[in-house]
Symmetry: C2
Subunit: 275 residues, 2 copies
């Protein structure tokens, strides 16, 4: 009988992290997942770092209680504010966030070391992307902007067309003014990949877009996959299942989440948990 | 010595209720207020009715602990979902919401009894405005639409211009198509009054806008003022002060809240409370 590996826990403030889960499933098709969306307390992006860290520890505890063998923080705000606290609280668990791999991908993509980052208010104010980019390239010049309306726009599903492009233009266009504009734009919020088309439409054509969700999920999957394949570790041999948890609103989670996951989530499969 | 009346407690999920507080202060300039913004858990508009009721009871308890003599639920979503529970839990306290006065004002304003309501997802899905309007005018025809992006738009401060009007057009224009369109539009979310100009710009010119925040605050102030002036009640003779409470993010509450209040809130005067 094949030994079944422990599932990988993934949490986000809501549905945005499903863009990361989607990439994780593609990278680790045999792994089982438990996804927790803290929908009762979303958004994290406007909350203080201390509050986001407290909520993240509660999410991690709820996932550990369901037997996870690794944890992915599929939320830029939580990755920016809570990763150290999560690793300290769970020293025996591999814990990966999305900011560090996103920053590494941006530095790899940029030829001029001029990088723009867009994210939520909390992520930008905390400066985590700026620090992570500078850790890879001390001479990088980083411009950063909070784009909170993108979150609501993505959840509403108005992901292309004139309104999405007008909002994208207002948020990002002037970041690329000036004689030496950035050549790379990091989508530092897991909501933003669904808006990538509208954002690209208002950028100078040479700018590379680094999708924090997709590019970092690949790195995360590689690290966790390597850990799970370590001597003595259980093989990755689950059934590719996902168990869905949310803290509020199963119907809304399933409806909007399906758009971010790119596959249907059934509302009656979403378990509501109280953190 | 003049006896000081107990302050009036006002709560909202965040800053939107400050449009109600602004009107209340104008109507009761001598009253003292304690305003609680549940900023750690905003928005309420996307959450389930049960969760909103639970949060509302916690807000009310926190305000009672600060000695309030009356309670105003300055949030349409909470008024729609939690008013009965709040009145049951506090039978000795006058508790007023914003939905019932807003519905009464809409029926008074409409000549054709065709009324459109825009609000958050939670308020629309719960049907509270539809029921409240029909209680006043059983033959009224009500069309309702959730406009969640308006909340983020108002908080971002993009309250006029091409983007605000394009979003308003997409949300409300088709509600007024057809041979017998509504003649009245209810702004059923306390965030929406700051967008009234952009919304009006895309409406047929004869449509009357009922500002749920302003028109209902007048009714609320009249009722609470009458109660406070009842025989044996303490006179309204405070200093017109406001004590600020929030559950997260004093700086953000003060910064964005000042726009909704129409007056400056100092971040160091905002007390952070844990519910």
């Amino acid at each position: 009988m094949t030994q079944t590996a422990a599932p990988i826990g993934v949490f986000d403030s809501g549905v945005g992290g499903l863009t990361v889960l989607r990439a994780l499933r593609a990278a680790l098709p045999d792994a089982d997942f438990v996804y927790l969306g803290d929908t009762a307390r979303l958004p994290y992006g406007t909350k203080s770092a201390a509050t986001v860290a407290r909520y993240s520890l509660q999410c991690a505890a709820a996932l550990r209680a369901r037997g996870i063998g690794a944890l992915v923080v599929a939320c830029n705000t939580a990755s920016a504010s809570a990763l150290d606290a999560l690793r300290a609280a769970h020293p025996d668990l591999p814990v990966e966030g999305v900011v560090e791999p996103g920053a590494a991908a941006a530095v790899a993509a940029s030829r001029t070391r001029r990088i723009a980052v867009i994210a939520t208010e909390g992520t930008i104010a905390g400066g985590a992307y700026q620090r992570a980019i500078h850790a890879h390239a001390a001479d990088a010049r980083v411009v950063a902007r909070a784009c909170p309306l993108f979150v609501a726009l993505a959840e509403e599903g108005w992901t292309d067309g004139a309104i999405a492009e007008a909002i994208a233009r207002r948020y990002v266009e002037d970041l690329f003014d000036g004689p030496q504009p950035p050549d790379t734009l990091v989508l530092g919020c897991t909501h933003f990949p669904v808006l990538a088309g509208a954002i690209a439409a208002v950028l100078p054509p040479a700018v590379r877009i680094v999708d924090s969700a997709a590019t970092t999920a690949a790195a995360v999957a590689a690290r966790i996959g390597a850990h799970r394949g370590a001597p003595g570790a259980a093989p990755v041999s689950g059934g590719g299942t996902v168990r869905w948890l949310a803290t509020d609103g199963a119907a809304r989670f399933a409806h909007i989440g399906s758009r971010f996951l790119g596959a249907r989530i059934a509302a009656d499969e979403v378990e509501i948990v109280d953190l």
